[in-house]
Homo-oligomer: 299 residues x 2
């Protein structure tokens, strides 16, 4: 494992997790979730989404959640925004860090956002411009980097091109997402290597879903390749809209267990994180999807 | 990934899976399970255990199960035996391949088998001698290779010593088991490397439990290290007696999905395997613990 041996865990449960759960939590629970997560020592917690409530009713209370959290110094609290209107809503609500999202698959972009990849990038141009003027950090998500539920295979070149476009527009970090969890380690490694040929590895993150149980093995391959930012969601919340009932995001607890076992520093208190995942699973009235979380809760 | 690119998947569900499930299946279902598994193209299916029914009531019907299966040419059908009496029972029932088991942790051996490691090895001496005379293949399991529920850390030297003793006694293959699933990839790799310093890699297998969600990442590290035999249980059956309600064996479906994604040959029909895991989960009246199996069933 190459130095440095510190990994930044980006906690996406409050956004990518909750937006795909059928249970809608009250505002107070969402605020408590974010505050518990930052108290665990996580360096970054994605708080919510300013995508229209018509599309994501689970996060219709974005303003209230963002206003309600207790910000810890040094913790990054990005919120997802779809366009300039969303950006302005987010800023008015106090956001100082945002994330934008597009896809490497044209078919997915069309079906998921009703826009071509090129159109989504056009939408982001004024957002990135304004963010630069405002001193707001921007993270860019590229989804379907290892496969698409509509078109199947996604060409490496398409991933590289979209990631490079986001980078050129000013995204400080690009998160490469296997949205449907179909990837395996050799493919994940090759994809990361291709993107890292164009963008410094320090600006790349990986984002795996555990639909086929491959997420942590993919993370390992990408760590070996040099990535040092990994997305995950506490208790593996999120499910998969393309395989109903299947597993969702990589569970943060399983990731942190792996990283600590590899001797890598995260700053995260695993016991506190596991307790938070167990608490969240109770609120969502579902089994804890983190295996580490489940094991620690049963000890 | 080094050549050769074929991996032998040892299916342990009918034994290591079922012996840790509270639901006891009827003989006919156990026979059907073994036959469905061999029909999936698995090269080896561990059928049952001839450990005393007082210790493993789930497998008290070992004779009937072994007599009832339809043997496919070329498939290895080992059964677990604890001592010479067990060996003779197994042979009388038609076994032509067996497995013996001990531990790398002295504390675990004492509590689990009421005997020291040295005593278990002494018990195996006449078993191995008779097996050699009978032309019976013997697999040796070493449990707790990455941690023990009683003593905690297990020294690498202890793992190497026990594995070497089994090898010297004539075991054709040594399966290195992380019984409680606490291991992570760097430790798994170091353990395998240490053992492979004494025993040819071709005679080693790895056996991971998914208690902390690390099993597949550990497999990946060990594949990179050169191992080409991996144990797994369909639908991730088995649970973990040391963390009640936690996940059990690595699911065969998730393993095969990984291997095929890495371009490695297994001979296994993944769709048929996933259907078998889904069927077994129904019989056991529990959620399918294979993520690949769950995803494939929901498509």
């Amino acid at each position: 494992m190459s130095a440095p041996d510190a990994v930044r865990v980006m906690e996406v449960g409050p956004r990518d997790g909750l937006q795909n759960e059928k249970t809608i939590l009250p505002v107070a629970d969402k605020i408590a979730l974010v505050d518990r997560l930052s108290a665990c020592g996580l360096p970054a917690v994605e708080v919510t989404s300013f995508v229209s409530p018509r599309w994501v009713p689970q996060l219709a209370d974005a303003e209230q959640v963002l206003a309600g959290i207790s910000r810890r110094p040094g913790v990054d609290y990005p919120v997802l925004v779809p366009n300039l209107v969303g950006y302005q809503r987010a800023r008015a609500a106090g956001a100082d860090s945002i994330a934008v999202f597009t896809a490497a698959s044209e078919a997915f972009s069309q079906r998921n956002t009703n826009a071509s990849i090129a159109q989504t990038l056009e939408r982001f141009a004024p957002v990135l411009e304004q963010a630069r003027a405002d001193g707001v950090r921007v993270r860019g998500y590229v989804s379907t980097v290892l496969g698409c539920p509509y078109q199947g295979e996604v060409a490496l070149d398409d991933v590289v091109q979209v990631a490079s476009a986001l980078h050129a527009m000013g995204c400080a970090e690009i998160s490469l997402g296997d949205t449907i969890g179909v990837g395996t380690p050799a493919k994940a490694r090759a994809m990361l290597r291709a993107v890292a040929g164009q963008i410094p590895m320090a600006q790349l993150a990986v984002h795996f879903h555990d639909t086929y149980g491959q997420a942590l093995a993919n993370v390992l391959a990408c760590l070996e390749e040099g990535v040092r930012v990994v997305d995950a969601a506490v208790s593996g919340s999120g499910g998969c809209p393309y395989a109903k009932g299947a597993s969702g995001n990589l569970a943060s607890e399983d990731l942190v267990y792996l990283l600590h076992g590899l001797g890598m520093h995260t700053g995260v208190d695993l016991a506190a994180l596991a307790a938070t995942g167990q608490w969240l699973s109770g609120l969502l009235d579902q089994p804890n999807r983190s295996r580490t979380g489940t094991a620690l809760a049963r000890q």
